[in-house]
């Protein structure tokens, strides 16, 4: 067994996992606050990738700097989608939201295809080709930048949640929506903002995704399975869990890729999920709660 190759895969896995962690924590946030699973989250990631691609192409802004445009725009898109399509769901919210967000994913895919076409594109930055070598595995510098960005985004999210009034309101809503309402928190507003933050995080993930991968509007199918599995593994609603689960599972995937075969790398995801559902259905950080009625 080639140990250095294994080490290289591990490093790559951690770096990529960070980016997936950001996407997944956005998904976990919206679940935690609103009790909905946003199946359209991956479509939002791809939307973010397209926006950052266009910003890069037309404004000649470095995609990382372009986040000052991408993130607010994604936030806005998230808020609008929440107000229009999630807020009206009154009954059976958790179940119906899966269907509604699937529909959103399809519609977003259609809209992106209409405006940008279905050809594969990639945000090709000038420093995209420089690499370094760890244990015989060539890793692009971009992965390091992506990982640093991911850490920064997670730190910002933590600061927002634990150091601001808005963050306190969000956490209160996650704990108990009804009680939060009773103490005067506008939970509808908190929901819209949380969905916006989730979309903005998707935009961060999408920016890096678009630099590292070629993508087109239907790339979200490749992503959503992975993101959902990560969130379920971490324990739905737990952002910390989602981030750690992403690191773990992307490492497992990359190790499978170099040790067994790239074809089976994706399957390792689902094997881990199955084991998890059998052993601990609530995920790493989830708690089994009886639905309050």
């Amino acid at each position: 067994m080639n140990l250095s190759l294994l080490f290289g895969a591990l490093v790559l896995g951690l770096l990529t996992g960070g980016v997936y962690g950001v996407m997944a924590s956005g998904l976990a946030l919206t679940f935690g606050v609103m009790r909905i699973i946003n199946v359209g989250h991956a479509a939002l990631v791809i939307t973010g990738a397209f926006i950052s691609y266009e910003v890069f192409r037309h404004l000649h802004l470095d995609p990382f700097a372009g986040l000052v445009i991408t993130m607010p725009l994604m936030f806005l898109i998230g808020v609008v989608l929440e107000v229009l399509f999630i807020r009206p769901l009154k009954t059976d919210r958790e179940e119906l939201s899966v269907l509604v967000t699937w529909a959103l994913a399809l519609a977003l895919e259609g809209v992106l295809g209409y405006f940008f076409g279905t050809d594969l594109v990639q945000t090709t930055v000038s420093y995209g080709n420089s690499t370094f070598v760890v244990g015989g595995v060539h890793i692009a510098d971009v992965y390091i930048y992506g990982f640093l960005l991911a850490i920064a985004a997670m730190a910002a999210l933590a600061a927002l949640l634990y150091r601001t009034n808005l963050g306190a309101a969000i956490r209160a809503t996650m704990l108990n929506r009804q009680a939060a309402q009773l103490i005067g928190i506008d939970v509808e507003r908190v929901s819209a903002i949380s969905f916006g933050i989730g979309a903005a995080l998707a935009g961060v993930g999408g920016t890096v995704y678009g630099i590292v991968n070629a993508f087109n509007p239907d790339s979200h199918y490749d992503l959503i399975g992975h993101l959902l599995v990560i969130v379920v593994l971490g324990g739905v609603g737990s952002m910390r869990g989602a981030f750690l689960a992403a690191l773990l599972i992307i490492c497992i995937q990359d190790i499978t890729q170099v040790m067994i075969s790239p074809d089976w790398a994706d399957l390792s995801f689902f094997v881990v999920l199955t084991i998890m559902l059998v052993v601990r259905p609530q995920g790493f950080f989830g708690v089994r709660v009886r639905e309050a009625t």
């Binding site: 269907l99 209409y114 739905v236």
Partner: protein, 346 residues
């Protein structure tokens, strides 16, 4: 039900509908029309089978196409490796077997997935679908991978081509609806409705929730597997991304919701409305616009009619009738709502 008259009316309706379906290929012999009718029947079966778990028990599965694909692939593989049959009427005999294989595969999958509830269950079923898509692609030595898997080519051609498949699909659709009907009338159906209302309470009063859910999951997979097998033979060539397609799962769920999930007629009605509309739309607009419109219809249905057509219209008719009689507009009779366990128990 008061007396036997509504029962007779229903039976008469079923007989008329069935006679119409049987005569359909003679009335509208065009191959294009028959193709649409066939695919519509396919979704009648899929939506009805989805309804057994998704509608009655409220467990939304988005993994229907996994079992659809298992059915299609197991029939194709049996024909390729085990029983060498020339393309005739023979392969139709294998359809129930394909359904059975899908059902057997569903047992361990359901055992794992049904440990979760609500959104996590939906997620698990999406994962199941992706796993089988991946398996069908990666096990290329057996399944042919992304190059696809061929079926024997039927011996009949021309305008007659669709007819045998139409009748095969009709049989599967009728079986699907009958299974849903039998489940609904049985104790299992009652238990499933109780699960939808409040699973913890249902468990507390002694409903064997675990086995009921598994039965529903497996029955639903059985029907989906049969549908997949007929579809595979019809297209004579199957690819992983087209038979294990997320849009098939979504379509089944959407049609059930449009018609009224949890009712027996709802999924059938939803499929009858939506599938022809979709196919017609697909002819006229390009892929992107199609996706946008599809998403829009979906959103429209769920946001404006979360209960579906059958319950909404039922409630409307009831309130009209009540007004005509001069009765107070109090709660509509329970039979017209999506039936709850409580209502049935009464």
């Amino acid at each position: 039900m008061t007396g036997s008259r509504p029962g007779w009316a229903k039976l008469r309706g079923c007989v008329v509908a069935l006679a119409f379906c049987l005569a359909f290929p003679t009335l509208f012999p065009g191959s294009g029309v028959l193709n649409i009718a066939l695919l519509t029947l396919m979704y009648v079966a899929l939506a009805s089978s989805w309804n057994i778990l998704g509608g009655f028990a409220g467990y939304i599965s988005l993994g229907v196409s996994a079992f659809f694909g298992i059915g299609a692939y197991s029939m194709g593989l049996i024909l390729e490796h085990l029983i060498h049959m020339s393309g005739g009427y023979g392969p139709f005999a294998l359809v129930p077997l394909a359904g059975l294989i899908a059902a057997v595969v569903a047992i361990p999958l359901g055992w794992v997935a049904l440990r979760t509830r609500h959104a996590v269950f939906a997620t698990a079923t999406i994962a199941i679908m992706f796993v089988f898509q991946l398996l069908a692609t990666n096990l290329s030595g057996i399944t042919g991978g992304s190059a696809g898997l061929g079926y024997p080519v039927p011996t009949w051609t021309g305008d007659f081509y669709d007819k045998p498949f139409y009748y095969a699909m009709l049989v599967v659709a009728v079986v699907g609806v009958i299974i849903a009907w039998m489940v609904r009338r049985s104790g299992v159906g009652l238990g499933l409705l109780a699960i939808r209302d409040d699973e913890d309470k249902a468990e507390a009063i002694g409903v064997p929730t675990w086995s009921y859910k598994l039965v529903a999951f497996v029955l639903s997979a059985f029907v989906a597997g049969m549908v997949g097998a007929v579809y595979g033979y019809y297209t004579t060539y199957i690819y992983p991304q087209f038979v294990i397609d997320p849009l098939i799962s979504i379509g089944a769920a959407l049609m059930a919701f449009l018609g009224g999930s949890g009712t027996l007629v709802g999924p059938v009605l939803g499929a009858l409305i939506l599938e022809p509309a979709q196919l017609e739309l697909g002819f006229h607009v390009n892929g992107q616009i199609y996706l946008i419109l599809y998403g829009a219809v979906f959103l429209f249905v769920i946001l404006l009619m979360p209960r579906g057509i059958v319950p909404s219209v039922g409630a409307l008719i009831d309130s009209r009738r009540a007004r005509r009689r001069g009765a107070p507009l109090a709660a509509p009779p329970p039979t017209q709502q999506p039936p709850t366990a409580e209502a049935v128990a009464r």
